[in-house]
């Protein structure tokens, strides 16, 4: 893959677009890419990053990432024209068929959990699903893609310090506004998703999980999480290959 652009769009948040044949396989929102950030064995492991947007015709894929640790910082130093070693698309994304034309999907994202919801929202809109977005950030400086989401549908923004939109967490907003919806799609910190589940307890809900990964393809058992209400104590799912998106009730939040 060849990098087309790589620029900062918010506090620590970068937007990178790259192009290559592999992009034609990136049709499912919520899937992720396993990216090698350097040429050497430091950093050794790939970084899992969600697909944020895809232009299938131009064979371009966009990702958003927070340059915080060693690997993502290296990623932020890449220049236009550099090649990028990408494995994927991996895992199972948000099931588009879980919602039908005319229904309302609510998409709730927190911080760097927001990117996969953008590609999801675009595809839902294409299928004539009504979308509502609730996007939670720490502060105005951390916010990104708000306009882009607004172009797709109703968008509420919350910030912890109130510097943009509603003051509080996304859950405070939900508590207060009690928005109507048919299906829930969410991605963000586990604490957030747990609170959302308890509060909204949807019939149809899909949650995107994060876990530290080794292989990213299901072979190493690094990314397992226990199944909800499992009496045997043995049941698990792999975030990388069974997820990262799981339906309501499968994983212990």
């Amino acid at each position: 893959m060849t990098i087309v652009h790589n620029r900062q769009i918010a506090n620590q948040i970068f937007e990178m677009t790259f192009t290559g044949e592999l992009v034609s396989k990136m049709t499912e929102p919520g899937q992720f890419l396993h990216i090698r950030v350097g040429d050497q064995v430091i950093p050794l492991l790939r970084r899992p990053i969600s697909i944020c947007d895809v232009d299938l015709e131009e064979k371009r894929c966009t990702i958003l990432y927070r340059a915080e640790g060693e690997g993502t910082k290296l990623l932020s130093n890449k220049r236009v024209g550099d090649s990028l070693d990408v494995l994927g698309p991996l895992g199972n994304g948000f099931p588009l068929h879980s919602v039908v034309e005319g229904e309302t999907a609510i998409l709730i994202g927190g911080g760097i959990g927001i990117p996969p919801l953008y590609y999801l929202s675009k595809q839902l809109v294409q299928r004539n699903v009504r979308v509502k977005h609730i996007l939670g950030f720490a502060t105005r400086k951390d916010a990104f893609y708000v306009n882009k989401f607004e172009q797709l549908g109703e968008t509420a923004v919350t910030t912890i310090d109130g510097s943009l939109g509603y003051q509080g967490f996304v859950t405070d907003y939900v508590n207060h506004e009690n928005p109507a919806f048919d299906v829930l799609f969410t991605c963000g910190p586990t604490q957030m998703m747990k609170a959302i589940e308890e509060q909204m307890n949807p019939n149809r809900g899909y949650y995107s999980f994060e876990e530290r990964m080794g292989c990213g393809i299901g072979a190493c058992f690094a990314c397992v999480c226990p199944v909800k209400n499992d009496s045997t104590g043995h049941e698990y799912r792999k975030v990388c290959s069974d997820g990262p998106v799981f339906p309501q009730g499968v994983i212990q939040l």
Binding site: I42, G218, A219, C220, A222, V224
Partner: protein, 312 residues
Amino acid sequence: MSKLAIQLPGLSMKNPIMPASGCFGFGREFADLYNLNQLGAIAIKATTEEMRFGNPTPRVAETPGGMLNAIGLQNPGLENVINKELPFLSEYDVPILANIAGTKTEDYVRVAEQVSKAPNVTAIELNISCPNVKEGGISFGTDPNIAAALTKAVKEASEVPVYVKLSPNVSDITEIAVAVEQAGADGLSMINTLLGMRIDLKSEKPVIANRTGGLSGPAIKPVAIRMIYEVSQRVSIPIIGMGGIHSAEDVLEYFLAGASAVAVGTANFVNPYVCPEIIEELHEIMSEKRIDHISDLIGRSWKSCYSPSLSR
């Protein structure tokens, strides 16, 4: 092809490259990426008698030139391995090295007995060195007498040759190696991971939930090379070398140190196509350097009479 073919007890290999235990699952995921028939052998994930869930997450952490893991021997259990995983692999013409683990000698014996009967299991890798299981496991790997007794028991139970996988976390690995050779081991696997830890500065706690984990990857290669160099001069059974192999050149270094075959672990996470790529690279190097057969290189760093061939 024949320049790379290696014959070891139970393992009739097209080439000396196999994925290392625990880094390749039971092959299914990689079978989607390339034809497994290219591999010299496959070492499957450690199998225990009962299904195990393993340790809490996070189970992996990155370190300079390496990684820590504490999977905790998660596996579907002997029955599932025999009924589901091994039959899948039997579609391929590749010998299987079944890595087995347990808590007590009897566990090991029962697993060895059963798994060695599977038609495509041609050898057992006796894991006496897993650092991530609290009971048993590690002590089998540090005491020569206990290691020898276990080897003997498993040898008696197994219908196929037994490779003992040694722990590097010992004062004198040659002592253990000699003890298990005398107890009947058909070969050695060296090395398992070094015990390590990383602490997260934010939480002020170990990154890995299990606290300590096994260090693998390029960082440990010099330790593995040293141990194989020492052990291969003291035993006459073959050694499957591993630890940080990422390239065909790494493979040559292992052969020169004294290995007769190698396993590739962590590198599969960095590049899932690494095994077939190394095999191809090896073919090229054999012709380039005009090496007649890769086995010519075994132990050549310490064998006194030889004509250097790699420098040609």
